[in-house]
Amino acid sequence: MTAYCLQPHQQNNTTMIGSLEQLVEIVKNRKVKPRMAVTWAQDENTLGAVEKAVKENMIAASLYGNRPMIEKVSRKLGIDTGIFEILHIDNEVAAAKETVRAVKAGEADILMKGLIGTDKFIRAVLDKETGLMKPKAVLSYVCAVDIPDYHKLLFITDTAVLPFPDLDQKVAMAEYAISMAGKFGIEKPKVALIGASEKMGKHFQNAVDYAVMCKMAERGQISPCIMDGPLDIFLACDKQSLAIKAVDTPVGGDADILLFPTLEACNPFYKGLMLFGRGELAGMLMGTQSPVVLMSRSESEKSKFYCIALSCLMAENN
């Protein structure tokens, strides 16, 4: 089989994090707590999740928003606002600008979106002069998903940002997922590039991109990983189907990372896992200089909490 599997296994010095609960345990009670700047932090969802993270000794939080509003919502939820730093700003766009500035200046380690509209928030993050992007980076989204029926954490991308990623964007997505898996202690993750079939159909641009990516991985043009695709989800995640179909793939039904061809394939996949597979997730934006927490209001309480835990893990050495 492909010779790139024969690379000597790298020494693994990082603790393996095998579940999202374990992730929480790891980032809790650290001596130096990451400081989080929350943009327009005046809704129940955001305040609830941030309060929990602060109380669990995970982060220190600065809330940027309308002070009376923050106090009113906190009172309603029974939250003691004394555990936060509150910075009064009376305009959501200004709050976005100010939180981005604070993170960029190193006054905070993590940025989190509150009640502000996603587009306004992202615009502040993407701003070429004042924003938070790494130079020439692609903005994308990676989720770590904890599913009871899978034997390990599964990293999936892109659930939220790139609708139709081209080759360069797919490469960036893979790099982000690999770097996130690395933070979980997986040094050479198995990356499955997901399609409807494992065959190289002539009419599928995704299959073409995937073949190119596999060769790039083989030639060391992508961070160390074991990559194969196109693969369907069965071949990627189920050893039994692999045996039935007799496809020779180094991912071998044991994928750590699933890279999807489009947002509309990835987004329903993760929502299906949440709804029908009893899954929980931790996700964040990638491509930024510091972690940015941005989650949907419909995530479960647990998942919201895990998202913050993930940003703490990713904030290390950032």
Binding site: T2, A3, Y4, L6, Q7, L167, D168, E198, K199, M200, K202, V208, Y210, A211, V212, C214, K215, M216, E218, R219, G220, Q221, V247, D248
Partner: protein, 300 residues
Amino acid sequence: MILKKLSELKNLLEDKPVRRLALAAAHDHQSLLAVLKASRDNIVKPILIGDENEIRRIAGENGYELENIKIIHEKDIEKTSELAVKMVSNHEADVLMKGKVGTSTLLKHVLDKTWGLRTGNLLSHIAVFEVETYHKLFAVTDVAMNIAPNLKDKISIVNNSVTCLNMLGVELPKVAVLGAVEMVNESMQATMDAALLSKMNQRDQIKNCIIDGPLAFDNAISLESAIHKGIRSEVAGDTDLLLMPDIEVGNVLYKSLVFFAKANVASMILGAAAPIVLTSRSDSEQAKYDSILLAAASAK
């Protein structure tokens, strides 16, 4: 089986009936003499189609007897091509060869829809090289027929060549898809096609061979160079077939191997119902002889 010299192709002819070769417009000095020499060495059984008087004169002047050699007298060059092609399609001959007739004229008849030698495959050229500095024979494609093959063409060219190499006893040929670099680069289509061909091979959509690419020429033929660059490849350093990105690269490589590396070369056209020997005037006598040998060895 690993062949080191073109002359070893003769071993493949043992225990097989002698292949019949139809030479179109056989009254051509160079090709006729190459065929008669091959016939004397029992490599092929010629069928000479052309101007009989001329054929007899050329043979006589060069000391060849034409006893037991079938001659079909036909002065019209167009007609000689038609007859030669028809003999192959009627299974009266196993190999087709071009004599004193233009390539385009002969190919027109090869591609004739009713009695031509079409198989549905693309026609492609293969050249097999014997070079002192490489540990076995290796093939290069396509240096003469397809100008700027697209991905689909490249698949056909690989398939044609692999079938041929299988016939020559190379069971699982190692195919290097050549690029200027071994990295995938979006602005070099050859490297993108190479990645696709590799994956199609992994998925068994291109069979009976091992494909890797992009490989630069040095990585393809020298294991040391591949190791130096940190390339892990089953093909690197042990290539049986080099797939060229286009005709310019292929043609220049072909000629530099002949002129600078003093390579011996045999070549033919694949993809038709039978091998076609299409040598050019500039080919040496030895090259013509070896091409006939190659065609005979790879004929079904």
